[in-house]
């Protein structure tokens, strides 16, 4: 494993040339969205400058080039997560993936009285769609608590599976605490009881080596923009036989082989789920992003972030910062949530911004989890390949200045 040098990586990200007021940009909000390297920007630029055409339709030079780029991108993205190409469906993002999937799965697999299991660690987008589906069908959503390490309580999930729960919808990595769930073990238990496992990997795939076959997830969703790629593009991985069995969620061009006035023949996956002109340049940009991550190596990305989390936890130890979540950095993925005592996180976020430091403050679209920490809002610093320990030193000293100004 090659050690990642963030100072070299940063040279690929043009945004770090800009300043915030008279300060250099320090970006600690990658869990919200990541910055983009030149390689991604160039791929998108090259597509629109040289190959722009619709895909899988027209028979001309440009369309054939665009289709080849599009499908080559699918191969790369599928391979990045250990999936087959026909198991890799492009969506608008994780939220889109989870919404369409919840609806489609519920239609096929949920009946009155059936239960779906999820956890308190979920982002709203892996909670609300399931709640809507079970309510509509007279089922029940069971939300398991976190264990002492702030991971979903696997024993409780096991109990629910024994009682016949049909679906486990679970987050891979918490977007608030960075804690990583043991998906492999959850999938093993679920499959023993004939249940399906849906994984929200919005904070997983960008930061960890992920192999969907090894995890044995039935479905797994992630977004391109949190993994150095463009916004508006996401992936829904699904096991081949499951994708074949579910109904398509949108109808129209691209997802159908033939249409008569009376009937139609639907395409096979992944096209079955990609109605309309896809986000072609998004797919091409995301392929460039996974190429970039692949060239660094996901083990190196993981190790780098683990080092940063450890460094941050040491910096924050004692004094006026309260850190939430576990201290065991091996289980924490590039995210540290905290509060500066006596200072509202929104005020803190504003004051850090004066020093060119971007963080996020609030409930992070995971209100039940944040409230379970006994607070209404937390400040969150989240890291990626371009962050260095110098960024964290700057954060620490800016926290000191904010404290002086605000208390």
């Amino acid at each position: 494993m090659v050690r990642l040098d963030p100072h070299i990586v940063r040279r690929d990200f043009p945004i770090f040339e800009r300043r915030i007021g008279d300060k250099p940009l320090i970006y600690l909000d990658s869990a919200a969205t990541s910055q983009k390297p030149l390689q991604v920007l160039s791929a998108v630029h090259d597509f629109y400058s040289n190959h722009n055409a619709n895909v899988l339709r027209s028979m001309n030079t440009l369309s054939s080039e665009a289709t080849e780029l599009y499908e080559e991108s699918r191969r790369k993205i599928a391979s990045f997560i250990g999936a087959r190409e026909d198991e890799t469906v492009f969506t608008r993002g994780t939220t889109d993936s989870l919404n369409v999937l919840a609806n489609s799965l519920a239609e096929k697999h949920l009946a009155k009285g059936d239960r779906v299991v999820t956890s308190i660690l979920e982002h709203h987008s892996n909670l609300m769609p399931w709640r809507r589906e079970v309510r509509a069908r007279g089922g029940e959503l069971v939300v398991v608590r976190a264990d002492k390490d702030w991971r979903a309580d696997i024993a409780r999930i096991g109990e629910e599976l024994e009682k016949g729960a049909k679906i486990v919808a679970i987050v891979h990595v918490s977007n608030v605490l960075g804690t990583t769930n043991d998906i492999k073990e959850i999938a093993r238990k679920a499959h023993r009881h004939g249940a399906l496992v849906v994984v929200d990997s919005a904070q997983g795939v960008p930061h960890l080596p992920v192999d969907v076959k090894e995890l044995d997830a039935d479905f797994l969703a992630f977004s391109g923009h949190k993994a150095l790629g463009p916004t508006g593009i996401g992936v829904l991985y699904g096991k081949r036989e499951l994708l074949h069995s579910l109904p398509p969620w949108q109808l129209g061009g691209g997802m159908v082989r033939s249409v008569t006035l009376d009937d139609e023949v639907i395409e096979d996956p992944p096209y079955k789920y990609e109605a309309g002109t896809p986000h072609i340049c998004g797919v091409i940009g995301l392929a460039a992003a996974v190429d970039y991550l692949g060239s660094i190596g996901m083990d190196s990305v993981r190790k780098h972030e683990e080092d940063l989390v450890r460094y941050a936890l040491d910096l924050f130890q004692g004094g006026d910062v309260e850190v939430y979540g576990p201290r065991d950095t091996e289980r924490v993925c590039g995210i540290v949530s905290f509060n500066l005592r006596g200072v509202h996180p929104h005020d803190l976020s504003h004051f850090l911004d004066r020093d060119g430091i971007m963080i996020r403050a609030g409930h992070h679209c995971a209100q039940p989890l944040v409230n379970s920490l006994g607070v209404m809002a937390v400040a969150r610093a989240s890291f990626y390949v371009y962050n260095s320990t110098e960024d964290l030193d700057a954060l620490r000293s800016s926290l000191g200045r904010a404290r002086e100004a605000l208390s």
């Binding site: 005020d347 504003h350 409930h363 100004a405 605000l406």
Partner: protein
């Protein structure tokens, strides 16, 4: 400090030394409002003075913008007649921030106005 920075001197003064601050004993009306998305809480207390004006106090567990806004609003409302307090509006509250609040932070500044107006309708109901 940029033009977009809401933490100007007057705001910081009201945050650190809030006027009319504290829970009121024997209030005629009390109303608490919360912003569930960020956890800000503001409570306004009203009591009738002998001359028909109202005594106005507040407490808050909130960010600096919300507390400073509540303090400045309490100055506008304290010692005024019901009819004058009822006329207070959005622009009165946002004026001291001189356009420095983005959409998200406007909500922090406006929460005290919602709490004051709720307290006023409580007062009218009780009256």
């Amino acid at each position: 400090m940029s033009a977009q920075d809401p933490y100007r001197e007057r705001v910081m003064d009201h945050y650190k030394n809030p006027r009319n601050y504290g829970a009121m004993q024997k209030a005629d009306a009390v109303a608490k409002e919360e912003n569930l998305s960020c956890g800000d809480e503001v409570t306004f207390y009203l009591r009738a003075n002998d001359d028909g004006t109202l005594r106005v106090q507040f407490t808050s567990a909130s960010c600096a913008i919300c507390r400073a806004s509540a303090s400045m609003l309490s100055e506008l409302a304290d010692g005024k007649m019901i009819s004058e307090i009822a006329k207070l509006e959005r622009s009165d509250v946002l004026c001291p921030f001189e356009g420095s609040l983005d959409r998200a932070r406007e909500g922090c500044a406006l929460l005290p106005l919602v709490a004051l107006k709720s307290a006023l309708s409580e007062f009218r109901k009780a009256d």
